[in-house]
């Protein structure tokens, strides 16, 4: 199990859980970060910028602090 920051661009992963408080869990659950859902890292912005993700067909931007709290595993 790794966090989203450790995933290389272009790889597909599966959400295991979100660590980081009820508020964050809820917010991310709304955007499709639910256990079992598939995510692909499309690209990341330079200078330690945020990640652009494909979450169930929708493009979502996550800052690095948030991405760190999403635990995933490779498919």
């Amino acid at each position: 199990m790794v966090n989203l920051l450790q995933v290389k661009n272009g790889y597909w992963v599966k959400v295991v859980n979100v660590a980081g408080g009820v508020g964050m869990e809820r917010r991310l659950a709304q955007l499709g970060f639910l256990p079992g859902n598939k995510i692909r890292v499309i690209r990341s912005a330079p200078f330690h910028g945020p990640l652009l993700l494909d979450v169930e067909g929708r493009e979502i931007v996550l800052g690095r602090g948030v991405a760190r709290s999403v635990m995933v595993e490779y498919l």
Partner: protein, 635 residues
Amino acid sequence: MRFALIGQPNCGKSTLFNQVAGYKAETGNFAGTTVTFTETKVRVLGDVVELVDLPGTYTLLGTNPAERVVLDYLVDKPVDAIINVIDATHLVQGLTLTLELMELGRPLVLVINMMDEAKRQGLKLDGEKLESLLGIPVMPMIATRGQGIREAFTRTWHIAQEKRIPTPKVYSEEIEKSVISLKKELEKDNYPVSRRAIVVKLLEGDPVLTEQVSRKIPHVLEHIQKELDVLCHQSSRQAVWLIASERQRLAREMARKVSSQQQTQLTLRDRLDDYLLHPFWGYVFLLAILGLFFYVVYGFGKMLEEPLLNFFNHLDMLILNALHANGFIAQVVSGAVQGISGGLAIVLPYLVPFLVGLGFLEDIGYLTRIAFMMDSLMHRMGLHGKAIVPFILGYGCNVPAIMSTRIMEDKRDRFLSAALSTMVPCAARLAVVFGLVAFYVGPWAALGIYFYNLLIIAITGRIITIFLPEDSPGLILEMPVYRWPTVKTITAKAWFRIREFIFEAWPILIIGSVVLAIMNYFSVTRYLDALLQPFNWLLGLPREVGTPLIFGIFRKELSLIMLAQAFGTTNYAAIMTPQQMVVFTVFVVFYVPCLATIISIRNELGAKAMWAISALTVVVATIAALIVRLGFLLF
């Protein structure tokens, strides 16, 4: 009768609303353009219906103040029918909200918007099948072209008349058991939405509802906790997740049954991000796009400002000659002419191209891309990429910028981005920058002021962050697809903002100019000037700028137009050196936001924040202008 428009962010609710209401609600191709509700009256089958546009929300469990509006509105006001708008290209995510809305116990119509976009992507949807699966009317729509709107409203009117309440979908057994058990607790009370909806929200842990219900029924908290424990024990997952997963499972099942995907070819539009978000070329494009934007605004404005100013100066001379130059009437008429010419010759030539350009960048979907690329830079001033939205809106007007800080979850982020975005030169200050500095000193000096402004904002953010450390998790944002805006929406949107200047600001400009002329005539301004004398001495400005600066608090354009009045000419080159113009403009850009902005800060963040931000801007303005003056003295 009252209908409410509800949907996820950026699904086109406001576009639909504007199609029926004329342009009343701000629209933009990014999440969170609508932060509060807008109401209008529409005619449906001869009936007058109140229609309300609510902010976009992913679920009814609002986590920021803008989303909170939705649930609060539904609880407070009697809504006869809900029109749920979803984006055809994101059916599963859209349907999860639909499932939640079905629980509320209000008549519901589902509108599937952006059918044209779905077609482009090779997506086929069977609306009739979805209608039978959900048990509520399903209407296709292309809101940008006005297709399907009349049909949707007629249908909504019918189900509102019949009071057709949708049957909520059944969740997994363990959730249903908890729902039934908790529902008994609420039996006696009267609630504005169905009890099932309230119980589900309690299980999802909505803090506001939990508080409200526990005040009425004190022992309910224990019961909720017991049910949560049971659920957590059975599935080893939190109830929030369990319910969200259930909705997603149901939504996915339905979407699979009603949609089919055909092969399509990738078009340039799908590959655009490879260039515009490229680690190197993305920034080159960003600079080029913003540079071009600046150049067009400047070029267009200058082309009009020169002849218009000449015309009005000539007119002013004629009037002064005709009515004895020093008489009271001559001064008052001349004041009015200067107020009119200020709006027409100095403000509008820059405001119009600026607002059209900003609207275009917004609607095409480029703003969120800027947020993505600028996130790491924004972190350096203690904010995250989402704060770019108030910043960019701030270039148009600070009032919507302040309101848009509602899209941030964290209170500290809201304060900081409000404080910093009030220092962003709005269109009114743009008029001062362009009308004075670009026109008399040169375009590069104006561009320099914009960069200097960004630098000062960044440093201020950095310093505030020392006292208010950043603790928010960071950026969470949905990336919109590129959309080609229609000419109609762009012009309507620009007009929506220009109208505000013409009908609200311009009259004040003219009145202010006349009042100043009268004050000048009776030599009252001397006392006002004396009040600001310490600043002027420190910054090396002529003493006459005192009164214009004070009037500038009402409207920023006034500080320039009143300057003309104070000196009795619009030829600024005769009365100020280029250095003084730059120092004056820098001060005007930063010091106290205008009255409207101050009021909206108080409304959004409270009186304390209002005073703090106003004081902060005066300090920053003085320091920033002083640095420029010292710079001129040294080099």
